[in-house]
Symmetry: D3
Subunit: 78 residues, 6 copies
Amino acid sequence: MRISARNQVAGTVAKLTVGVVNAEVVISLPGGGQLVAVITKGSAKTLNLKRGSPVVAIIKSSDVLVAVPCGNPDCKCR
Amino acid sequence: MRISARNQVAGTVAKLTVGVVNAEVVISLPGGGQLVAVITKGSAKTLNLKRGSPVVAIIKSSDVLVAVPCGNPDCKCR
Amino acid sequence: MRISARNQVAGTVAKLTVGVVNAEVVISLPGGGQLVAVITKGSAKTLNLKRGSPVVAIIKSSDVLVAVPCGNPDCKCR
Amino acid sequence: MRISARNQVAGTVAKLTVGVVNAEVVISLPGGGQLVAVITKGSAKTLNLKRGSPVVAIIKSSDVLVAVPCGNPDCKCR
Amino acid sequence: MRISARNQVAGTVAKLTVGVVNAEVVISLPGGGQLVAVITKGSAKTLNLKRGSPVVAIIKSSDVLVAVPCGNPDCKCR
Amino acid sequence: MRISARNQVAGTVAKLTVGVVNAEVVISLPGGGQLVAVITKGSAKTLNLKRGSPVVAIIKSSDVLVAVPCGNPDCKCR
């Protein structure tokens, strides 16, 4: 299956936290960064996710916000 | 302002396509990848986005889907 | 109230799983399929959802992704 | 690729409307209903969507809202 | 129809900008603020939206991000 | 950091409910209304949210649905 989402980032499950309804998946990226996904517990189970599983994070472009740093270079308030 | 979104990725505007209502922002990442955001034309204007602008892509973790590669190593159907 | 969402599908609550913050609602469709919604526990309570409740699943069109099957007909990796 | 989204509905592209940034995809379902997706024009092109293309609509469960009909059976205000 | 979304804010259409696929709806709130919605052109037409139409903005709570002001009171970089 | 989201509403945390994965944040608005956000437990912790914290609710315009009241003025079925 090929999917319309413009953002597809490969990584590895670094941590999985499972609640009653949802599960938080922390994904380590090859470059050293991380992405966090919240999916249903049911999906985490169906996909058989565990620490170390290779995964692809998929993000629809309409779900990406854009921010710009402050004009003031002294401003650290990110 | 610090924001709750768990995913914040810094990059540079590589391409901006402006429609009547929305604008597509292609963001180059330092590591070589890209992210695509669709925001309103009004926001692109307010933020004064242009090719080369430093930006941060922000993604709420509940908007990230997770996929796993097929079990079959011969499968190329991503 | 009439709502802008282009996707409105009537069904019946088949299963309700309630967590601390969210609730998962499995909705059976007349044709035999299912949809799954995650809403807040508070909403599930306010709407008085239970097994058998008639409901309408509502989905904004910007939240629908599109995928195409692999070109290879032997590929089963959905 | 197998994906975490709990809602995956197969259908056929019935109509494609392409704007500057986005494209609207009307998907006919086997049972007779329709779903509408808005994706980027770039994705529609990459997936080579046209009238008649077989597709799968994918919806994350956290993007599904639930409504209940009015208590008053005489109320028609959906 | 009663809907699960926890955030429902009544207002009036102040401005409508219609593109090929989407429409931007600026909604004036009684208190003096504004909300902006992007829906499909088709929905705007079906709902017969025009300047002055009374509307309700509906937002699922999982689509609301939270930010906090900078710790530094001199920081103006919102 | 300035962010592209068109909807940014200042308020105060009125109630915080923390689950295993997510947290529900009820935000009181100056005008007397409320907004509800669901974010990750991790974000709530990072932002150090508590009852009384000043916050800004941020909503992307593509996540706002629009509804119109029923044509029938006697209809109360919101």
